[in-house]
């Protein structure tokens, strides 16, 4: 048997053909007008130029380590309460009062994202494809912080990785009433959380299409949302819904993001989808997710000063004013999202 196999392997080498997983999928993933996708990549849309000169001409923001060095040059002569703990307290109880550091916001004109309010205002970005009126003030806040920039920013790596690793984060969309993945005037989109691990392919690098996910209807019931949308030239665009809760556990700490006026714009295929999830992020929820999931150790690694960033988020917040104070509580944002086809069972 061994010799026989070895001999036939010679034939194999001559005739080996390369195939992709998509070419191996015989049956359509769209079945009975329904197709499901699971989120495999999710992170804040950060438009980056090669040397960052366009969006961050004055460089990047300092992080906790750099700020600490400037604030406490004589920290060895001071107590922990006067130094480290003071910074920790401010990190966990941030205010909008100015600090002594200039925050470096994005200064460029271009940004990924959507026009959320239907207006084109002077402060809006322009999409790289030329579309004006893009609302993405989270980008303005985090775009010049190293930890939020790919491909090796600490947030970029770990928050995204957690999307795949943690079942807690297993958000899915299911399209129903679909006649065609190319064009359909009216489709229904349901978002929910799955319960199962993702199947990675033989390389270990990619989530493979064709897996199965059961809907978490018990602990994930409050996460279920439904919306209407349409597909044009394989691009799904949804109507905004009031809010979406994104479960986002990172480093074992369960947390959430709350996105108001959430809508999707995704390019669809049989095996995958990609595009943006956009809306207005609740600022306090956004900030808590960051500091709950990442200690000062991690924030320092990405030069992320929570203290300074919170002030910036509140400064650039552009929606949902507090009825009493008038201060905006939400900030426009966009998340780059990639999804892989799964069969969703109910």
């Amino acid at each position: 048997m061994g010799n026989f196999k070895r001999l036939l392997t010679l034939v194999a080498v001559a005739a080996a053909t390369s195939m992709t997983s998509s070419s191996l999928t015989a049956a359509s993933s769209l079945r009975d007008g329904t197709i499901g996708y699971v989120i495999t990549d999710l992170f804040w849309s950060v438009y980056q130029t090669e040397d960052a000169k366009q969006e961050c001409p004055r460089g990047f923001n300092d992080g906790p380590r750099e700020q600490f060095a400037k604030l406490y040059p004589n920290y060895k002569d001071m107590s922990v309460e006067e130094t480290q703990l003071r910074q920790e307290i401010q990190t966990w109880h941030p205010t909008t009062e100015p600090d002594e550091f200039e925050f470096l916001a994005v200064e460029g004109d271009l940004s990924w994202g959507l026009n959320l309010d239907g207006k084109t205002a002077p402060n809006d970005f322009t999409h790289p494809d030329g579309t004006p009126g893009v609302d993405n003030e989270v980008y303005r806040s985090v775009g010049c912080i190293i930890g939020f920039r790919g491909p090796d920013g600490v947030e970029y790596i770990f928050q995204n990785k957690a999307i795949v690793d943690e079942r807690y984060n297993r958000m899915m969309i299911e399209l129903s009433d679909v006649d065609s993945l190319e064009n359909d005037d009216s489709v229904t989109i349901t978002m929910s959380r799955g319960m199962d691990r993702l199947l990675t392919d033989a390389t270990g690098a990619q989530v493979m299409a064709g897996g199965t996910q059961r809907v978490d209807t018990r602990w994930g019931k409050s996460l279920i949302r439904q919306m209407q949308g349409s597909i044009k030239d394989s691009v799904l665009t949804t109507e905004p819904i009031d809010d979406l809760i994104i479960p986002w556990m990172n480093l074992g700490v369960p947390s959430i993001h709350l996105i108001r006026d959430m809508r999707l714009q995704l390019t669809l295929t049989q095996d995958s989808a990609s595009g943006v999830l956009a809306g207005y992020a609740d600022v306090d929820t956004w900030y808590k997710q960051l500091i709950r999931n990442d200690s000062t150790h991690h924030l320092s690694n990405g030069q992320i000063s929570g203290i300074s960033l919170y002030k910036a988020l509140r400064k650039f917040a552009d929606a949902y004013p507090n009825p009493e104070s008038g201060e905006n509580t939400a900030i426009s944002t966009s998340l780059d999202v990639k999804l892989t086809q799964v069969f969703i069972t109910h």
Binding site: M1, N3, F4, K5, L7, L8, T9, L10, V11, A12, V13, A14, A15, A16, T17, S18, M19, T20, S21, S23, L24, T25, A26, A27, M195, D196, L199, T200, D201, A202, T203, Q206, M208, A209, G210, G211, T212, R214, F343, I344, T345
Partner: protein, 565 residues
């Protein structure tokens, strides 16, 4: 309505009903074997006697068997152990013995307590070693041998001042014994066939138990052997029916089919991750499990016709496997049925068969056809000659499909001969790539999946499945493999033809039901009767395992042994 023909039909039916089932030829007998325990049998032995936790704590130290006439189990009849393997067995024995007597296990594995741990307790040692050795040797020990073991324990206790250390040393000696690691068929004169031999009751018990449970006899079966119940038809039938009714039959038959289907190949099977990214190690492991579950459910749970395994659309599905089949699944293993329009029909379209009999980067009609014949029809496909010329094939850029490539290859008449045996049926499975995933085309070229199996022509996969199901050698092959598996070695046409013919007839007449043919085999004369051959004189149970230098070094022990003897 006239009924004039009715009485005649009735007579025919009555006569048919009264027809005697074919009886087994009187001279049917099998060869006595000495076969090495397989790794799984060793593990099952340790688990049965001492518990699964101890069994799972060690790697079974048994060497791999050479597949012989289609079965690893048959290779066990020709396997020996090297000194290095003995060393591995000794290490495992020491580990098992140490765990059996440790504080976590001694309370329930050792049936007595010594009066003094430091001074030992020969009565307690005798009780434990006698009971344990009976289970491990699969027969009771004679008094002399037991005394030797007790002396070993006592000697070691004296050296270590620990009764349990002494017990462990004696247990290690038992686990190292040839009688434990080999299944030795011992015979006795057969009163029903004067001048001939049959298995003694203990060897018959072991043969039955390893066939049906892939494990040594349990206490009840040993008791039946001890009481001589296996020597009379009623007692034997009672014992066999108990084994067949046990849920452990499933494990036994899983082991048989895993062996018959050559699934040990999965231990080293891998696919090119670039060519087949959807096929992971978990996929292949589940593919093997899927087929075993399908078989066991079909032949045991449903007690369905064995042949229908090749046309059934019923199977089981897991989440890891489902993407390869392009279907949803659920958590764990769930029953699954391919719909009528699916190209998946029967075992030949399982990922296990398709992937195991392909290359790492592409399918192989030849390997699939060869496997189909050798695994399920017990036919032998010759090895290719060492000087095959592939140059014509390699240079033909127009040969996009396997059929086209093989056509070029088979322009050489010396190649065509063997490929005619394998390729027509293998090409019918070309809708499945080398990992078992469905494909409409190969390299953009349409696939011609028409074929022929021993004179039966068909147009598609379901045609191949039906031709396979109805193949006249299918039933014969299963009973051939079962008989070889059960009696511990390959069959020979010269000696076993009549037995196999009778067993095949039983199988067919019984509706191709596995439990029925297992019962027929287990109760058959051939299973327990031994063919006359010249055997070297052996005295298994009376042979000492005592290291000679142990006696030499310890006059007291030698004296004690002599007194006890």
């Amino acid at each position: 309505m006239k009924f004039t023909g009715f009485p005649a039909i009735l007579v025919v039916l009555l006569l048919a009903g009264c027809e005697q089932a074919p009886t087994e030829p009187l001279d049917n007998a099998s060869l006595p074997r000495t076969r090495l325990l397989t790794g799984e049998q060793y593990a099952n032995t340790i688990a049965q006697v001492f518990g699964a936790d101890i069994s799972e704590s060690i790697l079974p130290p048994m060497p791999p068997m050479a597949r012989t006439d289609g079965l690893l189990a048959s290779g066990a009849a020709f396997a020996g152990v090297t000194s290095d393997q003995i060393s591995q067995i000794q290490l495992s024995a020491a580990s098992v013995a140490e765990q059996v007597v440790d504080e976590d296990h001694r309370g329930f594995l050792i049936p007595c307590r010594p009066e003094s741990i430091s001074e030992g307790d020969s009565a307690c040692a005798r009780q434990f070693l006698g009971e344990t050795a009976r289970l491990l040797y699969r027969r009771p020990l004679d008094e002399a041998r037991l005394t030797e073991l007790v002396d070993i324990a006592r000697y070691a206790t004296e050296q270590t001042n620990d009764f349990y250390d002494g017990l462990a040393l004696a247990l290690e000696a038992i686990l190292l014994s040839p009688e434990v690691i080999f299944i030795v068929d011992q015979t006795e004169p057969d009163p029903n066939r004067p001048g001939e031999q049959r298995l003694d009751d203990y060897s018959l018990a072991a043969r039955l138990s390893f066939l049906l449970w892939n494990a040594p006899p349990d206490a009840n079966l040993l008791l039946a052997a001890e009481n001589g119940e296996l020597s009379n038809p009623e007692g034997l039938a009672r014992a066999v029916d108990r084994l067949l009714a046990s849920s452990r039959l499933e494990a036994g038959m899983r082991a048989f089919f895993d062996d018959m289907l050559g699934f040990d190949d999965f231990n080293s099977l891998a696919k090119d991750p670039v060519v087949y990214p959807m096929v992971t190690g978990a996929t292949l492991a589940d593919a093997r499990e899927q087929t075993l579950r399908t078989i066991i459910d079909h032949v045991l749970t449903e007690e369905a016709d064995y042949r229908d395994l090749f046309t059934t659309r019923k199977t089981f599905m897991s989440m890891s496997l489902a993407p390869v089949y392009g279907t949803p699944s659920s958590d764990g293993w769930v029953p699954y049925e391919f719909d009528e329009s699916s190209p998946r029909i029967g075992l030949l379209t399982h990922v296990s068969f398709l992937a195991a009999n392909s290359h790492a980067v592409r399918s192989s009609p030849t390997l699939r056809g060869k496997a189909l014949r050798e695994l399920f029809l017990c036919q032998h496909v010759p090895e290719p000659p060492p000087d095959v010329d592939f140059s014509g094939l390699e240079e033909d850029e127009n040969a996009l499909t396997a059929r086209a490539r093989l056509r070029v290859h088979n322009e050489n008449p010396s190649c065509a001969g063997c490929h005619l045996i394998t390729d027509p049926m293998g090409l019918s499975l070309e809708n499945f790539n080398g990992a078992g995933l469905f494909r409409e085309t190969e390299d953009g070229a349409e696939l011609d999946i028409t074929g022929e199996l021993d004179g039966v022509f068909y147009d598609d996969i379901s045609g191949l499945a039906s031709a396979m199901r109805d193949h006249p050698k299918l039933s014969y092959c299963l009973v051939n493999r079962l008989y070889a598996y059960g009696t511990g070695g390959p069959v020979t046409l010269k000696d076993d033809r009549d037995t196999l013919r009778w067993l095949e007839t039983q199988f067919i007449d019984g509706g191709h039901k596995l439990p029925a043919v297992l019962r027929d085999l287990a109760l058959s004369q051939a299973f327990s009767s031994i063919r006359s051959i010249e055997l070297p004189s052996v005295n298994i149970a009376g042979e000492s395992s005592m290291p000679t230098n142990l006696n030499d070094d310890n006059p007291q022990l030698t004296q004690a042994s002599a007194e006890n003897n």
